[in-house]
Amino acid sequence: MKSLFIGLILLFSVSAQATVWDSFYTWDQQWEEKYSDWVNTSWHQYIFTDADSPYNGIPNDCADAGYAMRAIFAFENNLPFAIIDPTRNSTKPITNQMSRWDKLPAGVPRLKAFIAYLAGIVYTGSMPQDSVPVALTKEALIPGIIFVKPRVHSYQIKDWSPQGIPVTINSTTPYSVKDMHKYISFPAYIPEDMTNFSDGYRRFKRPDELYKMTSSLPGFSLEQFITSEALNFNSVDFNDFIIGRTATEKETVEVKTRRLMFNICYSSYNRASVINESTNYFYKIQNEGRSCMNAKEFDQYSTFSRDKRLKEYFVRLQQYIAQTKNFKGESFPLKAYALDIFVNDPKQYQRNRKQFLKFCTIPYDSGKILDVREVWQRLRFDLLVQNPNTTRDWRWGDYTAPFTTSCPTFEEVH
């Protein structure tokens, strides 16, 4: 009797030793469809900050968020999660089977520890080996896929509008607990890696696919690269190509212009938030007796990639204006604003600045605000400073003098 009881205790203790979560099911097409539906309905930009979210408090960065998306769905549905170990060419993946966090309570605490662990291992450069490039079709470009630019940035595709525009979620540096960003917009990059085909739109590999040749996997396609090259890597043409394949409704000129201008405003506003955090950190290290950020801090608070993306949003609107011949034949409320952004007439700015600020106000320093026209002028004349070893006024291009610093400059690696 006693021995039976002891045996029972031992048996349950063996079963409790374990895994981040138990996976009872196997990925198949049905589960992939459920995953896609879940990303569409349940993956959102506040998932790591919402008080009601069980995943509240998970720090994130661009690649981490993409992997977390897949891991959280797998966790919620007792599916396996597996990625290739990027630190050694082996056939032992990193999976939910790890027992490293056995001492933590099962469930979300172990998941959070696992996601934090992943954040220390993965980066946008590891995403290509864990994913498959897909075709530019409605069937392939679905919620749940990711867009990757290795060593730069990545996005999760949450939805696809009837007009053929993706709804993306993305996280950025610094690695911290924060809201992610939601855009109704194409990623700021297009597939360009004609050497290794490591960027672009991709689906996650299933655990049983990890060690097979990528080109042998279902859905593998180089179409996006061939298409991008054929279009001379023009982002407007490439994205229009996708719209041609995925749209079921035509996007009106007004709707498209509003979307492009919203992206400009939102990106500019986000830049202000990052620069604030960066400048506060810069003051903090100075108070500690240091004058320069180290490489890791530089990577977290510089805005080289971000400013390139911001500029790309302006350029896309500019190209669209050119394409539509200044919105010829169209009449809508935002028309004048859109055209005005690219008018190089500072006197005109002051005349209708109030109206412009109603459209979008970017507070960037104590008592100072910019409208998007001014952001564009500062971008196009390279007045904005991406180097984090300085103050807000320099970061926002208040000075025409070239920015100089004795601090070392590092390149970003995300």
Binding site: L4, T19, D85, T95, R151, F410
Partner: protein, 236 residues
């Protein structure tokens, strides 16, 4: 009677629990081996020269200690002799190995400027240490990250040093390596000519994974383990 009922209940519970555990273990099995794939076999060579460092420019970013020269078994995909010419118009001899093909075609040689990622694997007192070297997007700076390895063979992040210049790598690798013996040097490199491009994973100088794209015919050759696959880029 009560006692017997309790005993039966315990036995049934025990059996159910055992069933759950066994079925969980079956379901959790993940196929980790691709069909026809072999794992490189590493052998330590007989020491020839002691402590003679190789210049960083000679052999990618790694300053190798020649007492730790490692041989990796060659893998010969079953169909590479057929597919290299067919898929990529790259001529081969019947005696060619993957290594001799990469040696003969200069554009497939290792070039540190084209590094995607390098993983160095060390052993010291039976403990494994890994050091990864990752270039920035424009290869102007490097990140070095070290990992210890747990009992499951999985990495535990240790130090991460960002913003290194090329000339700083060798010293930092040496410091992180802390005298451990190098057992594997994995280099994933980009390769490129006007007509072909792709990547090759070398493990201890042996090409292990090859992915090459012929631009004019738009065909992709991928070789891994014991076979190769040729894909037409836009077949449907």
């Amino acid at each position: 009677m009560q006692k017997n009922k309790f005993r039966i209940l315990l036995v049934v519970t025990f059996a159910v629990a055992a069933g759950i555990i066994i079925s969980t273990r079956i379901n959790n099995t993940i196929s980790t081996t691709a069909p026809e794939e072999t794992t490189p076999v590493l052998q330590k060579d007989v020491p020839t020269n002691v402590n003679e460092p190789v210049a960083a420019t000679e052999n990618a970013v790694v300053e190798k200690n020649k007492t730790d020269v490692i041989k990796t078994q060659e893998t010969r995909p079953s169909n590479y002799l057929k597919l290299f010419p067919e898929c990529l118009n790259i001529q081969v001899d019947p005696t060619d190995t993957l290594k001799s093909i990469t040696n003969k075609n200069k554009w497939m040689n290792k070039d540190p400027k084209n590094l995607i990622r390098q993983n160095l694997v060390y052993k010291s007192s039976n403990k494994e240490l890994r050091i990864s070297i990752i270039p920035s997007e424009n290869s102007k700076t490097w990140t070095l990250q070290s990992f210890s390895v747990d009992d499951e063979g999985l990495p535990i992040p240790k130090n991460k040093i960002m913003g290194l210049q090329y000339h700083q790598l060798a010293d930092n690798i040496k410091t992180e390596g802390n005298g451990a013996s190098l057992i594997s040097d994995e280099q994933n490199l980009l390769v490129k000519t006007p007509t072909n491009s792709g990547s090759i994973l070398f493990i201890n100088d042996q090409p292990v994974k090859i992915k090459l794209f012929n631009k004019s015919d738009q065909r992709l050759l991928e070789c891994q383990g014991t076979y190769c696959l040729c894909n037409q880029a836009l077949s449907s």
